[in-house]
């Protein structure tokens, strides 16, 4: 069976791979036999090999060197390009983070290939599905040049285990000067959250301008915590200083695709929809019965969020006992 290279994206905390990696391994199986590629500082692969094997990696290519992490994006694209040249895989699948998309782009130039970003599905013949224009249009696209390179949007595919050998194979890292131009001097974490990561969460509760203040966002957080959900915010809520930008959902924020999205005090502007329209189930709470968010909602409550949200939180908590 043809080999498909899957780039592993690791948790920044160093504890395993991100869920998007398992999704990428699952999606890659439509095209052939996945091999995982782990790029990072020495010692990176040891903690993730088993996980990669469990999700179908026959081979785990391990390219470890301090420089891979010390410089931005370019080293990873360079090592991956070497592997593509050596192994001639049927395709390359990369989780669709900002870094993943940039690696895909540089890899495409290096290997004279085409690449498709943010695909939500890959068919056996290589046709990919993409969502365009704030979720209003679904397109099917195909790479017609070189080795097809895909970046897979998070939460589009359900990760399914498919145990494979996961044989480690070391890859020598020798980087050009060009790959070492942009030094990552420091990685700074400003917001440590105990909640699930926004783009990976199964449930997201987002607040908008209707929440009315930063203090009042505590009712959004409480509902989220009762559901084990991540918290998101509209741009109006972020711009008004109610919630940090990291949590913005929409065109210029995060794209989320959870099982359940609850929009609270959010009108449903097209740029907000762009970030949440592909959620499986959408619930809206808004006092304006004409709010466009209701056009998307599977279930809507027309009412004041200040009464509905705390009452819902209380009942959910009570049900859990």
């Amino acid at each position: 069976m043809a080999e498909v290279l899957v780039l592993a994206e690791l948790n920044p905390a160093g504890d395993g791979v991100r869920k998007t990696t398992l999704e990428a391994l699952t999606a890659a199986r439509a095209l052939g036999e996945p091999s995982a590629v782990v790029l990072g500082a020495p010692g990176t692969a040891a903690s993730v090999r088993n996980q990669l094997a469990e999700y179908g990696a026959a081979t785990v290519y391990v390219a470890e060197a301090p420089e891979v992490d010390e410089y931005l994006v370019a080293p990873k694209a360079e090592v991956l390009a070497q592997l593509v040249q050596e192994k001639s895989p049927a395709a390359v699948v990369i989780p669709s983070s900002p870094e993943g998309k940039e690696i895909a782009g540089r890899l495409a130039i290096k290997t004279n290939s085409g690449f498709l970003t943010d695909v939500t599905e890959i068919a056996a013949d290589g046709t990919a599905t993409q969502v365009a224009f704030a979720g209003a249009t679904i397109v099917h696209s195909k790479v017609t040049t070189g080795t097809p390179i895909y970046t897979l949007r998070g939460n589009s595919v359900t990760p399914e285990p498919a145990p494979a050998a996961g044989t480690e194979q070391p890859v020598a890292v020798s980087l050009s000067d060009q790959a070492k131009q942009v030094r990552v001097v420091e990685r700074v974490v400003e917001q440590k959250s105990t909640r699930p990561e926004l783009t990976e969460a199964a449930i997201v509760v987002s607040g908008g301008r209707g929440v009315a203040s930063a203090e009042n966002f505590s009712i959004i957080e409480a509902l989220a915590d009762s559901l084990g959900a991540a918290v998101g915010a509209s741009r109006a809520a972020v711009d008004s200083g109610f919630y940090p930008h990291t949590f913005q959902v929409g065109q210029t924020g995060k794209t989320v695709s959870p099982q359940l999205y609850i929009a609270v005090g959010i009108s449903g502007a097209i740029q907000h929809r762009a970030g949440m329209q592909t959620s499986k189930t959408i619930v809206a709470i808004n006092k304006d019965p004409e709010a466009p968010i209701f056009e998307l909602a599977d279930f809507g409550v027309v009412g004041d969020l200040n009464t509905v949200v705390p009452a819902a939180t209380e009942q959910i908590t009570a049900r859990k006992g």
């Binding site: 994006v73 130039i109 365009a132 990291t246 359940l260």
Partner: protein
Amino acid sequence: MNIVVLVKQVPDSGSERKLDPADNTVARASADNVINEMDEYAIEEALLVRDREGGEVTVLTVGPDSATDAIRKALSMGADKAVHVSDPAIHGSCAVQTSAVIAAALSQLEYDLVLCGAEATDAQLSVMPALLAERLGIPQLSGARKLTVEGGTAKVERQTDGGYWALEAPLPAIVSTWDTINEPRYPSFKGIMAAKKKPVETKTLADLGIDPSTVGLASATSQVLDFAGRPPKGEGVKVPDEGDGAQKLVEYLASQKIV
């Protein structure tokens, strides 16, 4: 300091956008076209750097003739001059090909710093700085929420989930900017009048030395095969809160096996 800002004209992200069934490309001619909103942050940042360091800001656009409106907007904000690459053969180009055109145009300009928006709101690929850095062999400092330039070095705070990465690279470099980096200015009346007299140089593929058969729909590295409107969702349920809104909501969540 010579700064080039990459500007794209796109269909307004707040309006209804369509693909053209004739060739599955973005229906640009019939769209309500505007400057890519994200590029305004790059223009603002270019003006701020120029005003601190001196030098000139050149706008570079690859787009159909109508893209002159986006160029005028950038010039009215305060950019000094513009280069507009327009050629019907470019129509239908994929990102890989478009980057080849932009790279060729950049190679004919003198620059210390190239700035662009972190994404174009039409295709939302967020890859142009990576593609151009790869082609030109210059550093890629993408996703900036902060930029400082001093003594031939660019320093960027690259926005990440929950924080930032501090990046550093020698000039010349390409930097892309998020909407957290600044607050773009509105063009003043004076700026709008002045923009009318600023030089806009138009170039074709021949001027860039690019063989037209290497760009455009026929030789794109990827193709849109077909498209469809997203299937409409079934009519949802909407209940007024008459004191029981929360209860109905929780019952719904329970029926979906969520709680």
